[in-house]
Symmetry: C2
Subunit: 315 residues, 2 copies
């Protein structure tokens, strides 16, 4: 028996066939190539048909991870990076081709913590949090083994965490925490500092300011560049405070750091832990483990598979 | 059929007989009078015996709210304000006298949101948060109808929320949010400002600085005292940020403000909502209602009753 896990991103789609024990038997990645609305839905349908209804297919369940909000009650999805997906009936569309095969959909952050729970660094955990730091920031939160959804499926929007007063208008598009400590935030903060420091002669001046990315900043950090050191130090403070808040509020067993930034920022996890330990509820912070993702870049696709697997056992 | 709800505080104990429909049939309040450890346990046992085993007693279940941590796995409790209750076997003690009558214990903050859900302002809600602001700060958090416990029963320690960097040593005993925005924080901040403002001639100079309480500050606010205005404005900012973080993380239906400070601070709820709206995930903040407690001073005892009631229906 096998299951399908689909990981839809903003620019590409990955589809994997997984065994019930979590072995990835095959994986195909396809660029979205600016597909919009129905075209993205059509691509998913086409792939599901290809893998599910070939002769002798052992597929028994389908799980989908998507970049946005998955609405449980309606089965519709909202994906800010896919045009026309404000309230797209993805579940209905897939069910129409899947027939009797069960289908589940959840957000990429929910799938990430489920993937870690199934095959990654949250195995055995019932209360764990996946902090995804990439272009943006979000969290997948597992409470007693169940994904925290909230009243309207948008729980875990931790990029909006308020961490430094007073309020500033620049937080409007993305929230305070994400403004400073996302991949985009790291680049932005670096550009701001460079603009002010006309005497700066470090490695980052090699790039046009608007071209600077978080990866350049991490590389400059390795060379002890003073601006990179300052930016990373500030991020460690914000990551530590945000994680401290999650610890005080949830009393979890594990925090897992993932997304494109963790990645290179994995080496800062001990510093983040030290910062969090200053702020958090002092007993809770001794009861939690800090870990990197056990499935770098693949937590969500494994999570989609685990969604599918849970759906078999439920029915 | 009736149930017993017990609300143990740091200085007094209340015991109520409630009908299954949530009517309070009787209530008795007893001062703890510096009772310690076993003596507090003994008082609870004595009252349970009195109400449960009188002739024709209709008591079918017992619920207890206690000020601290209730450990689900062991049935023991930790109460910082009761000497000798580091790991006190309260459940075992009560069960010994209760016999076949079911017994449940939970923390006062968990009971507060359960009480509001049963008979207060969270009726009909499955995702709601009770923010208790008194001497300290904590939260009772309901997720899909279930109390958030965390891996080791200390979830909801929101007084430790990190809201303003950099870290300061003065946050060590209680956490950043509680330092500024608890009842004790309001008094402390006022004292700090008065010490610095030697030219101050307002109403708060009537009191010796060490005697100033949050109640004095709220009274001075009514007279437009500049120091009180400054302190309350700062608290509104912290309350707004903390509530914004709960909204972004949990996407709840309702936030209920309780504890001794709400109370007089109820009139600031609209200002807190305006502050929270600046910081929080912008969709979530439109989906949540802000309310005062529907059971001022009695949310926890009703919640203890609801614990008891749930225990009947479970068994």
């Amino acid at each position: 028996m096998s299951i399908i896990g689909i990981d839809l991103g903003g620019t590409k789609l990955a589809i994997a066939i997984l065994s019930e024990s979590g072995k990835m038997l095959s994986k195909e990645v396809i660029a979205l190539d600016n597909r919009k609305g129905n075209e993205v839905g059509g691509l998913i349908i086409e792939l599901i048909k290809k893998y599910t209804f070939s002769e002798g297919s052992p597929i028994q369940s389908i799980g989908v991870s998507m970049p946005g909000i998955s609405r449980k009650k309606t089965g519709t999805v909202w994906a800010p990076n896919i045009a026309g997906w404000e309230d797209y009936p993805l579940l209905k569309e897939i069910k129409q081709v899947a027939g009797a095969i069960p289908v589940s959909i959840d957000s990429d952050r929910a799938c990430a913590i489920l993937g870690e729970q199934w095959q990654g660094n949250a195995r055995g955990c019932k209360d764990a949090i996946y902090l995804a730091v990439g272009t943006g920031i979000g969290a997948g939160i597992l409470i007693d083994g169940i994904i925290l959804r909230g009243a309207h499926d948008i729980a875990g929007a931790v990029g909006w965490m308020a961490l430094h007063k007073p309020y500033q208008k620049k937080y409007i598009p993305c929230g305070c925490f994400e403004y400073y400590a996302s991949g985009e935030g790291i680049a932005k903060l670096t550009r701001e500092i460079l603009q002010e420091e006309s005497a700066y002669r470090g490695v980052l001046r090699e790039y046009a300011p608007e071209k600077i990315t978080a990866h350049h900043v991490f590389a400059a950090f390795e060379e002890n560049d003073p601006v990179a050191l300052q930016v990373i130090q500030e991020c460690i403070e914000y990551w530590g405070m945000a994680v401290a808040n999650l610890i005080s509020v949830f009393n979890p067993e594990k925090i897992i750091f993932g997304g494109g930034v963790f990645g290179p920022a994995i080496k800062f996890i001990p510093s983040i832990k030290a910062e969090a330990a200053k702020w958090a509820q002092p007993i809770s912070v001794t009861q939690v483990n800090f870990e990197q993702s056990g499935l770098p870049g693949e937590a969500s696709i494994y999570g989609a598979g685990f969604l599918a697997l849970k759906n078999i056992h439920r029915t």
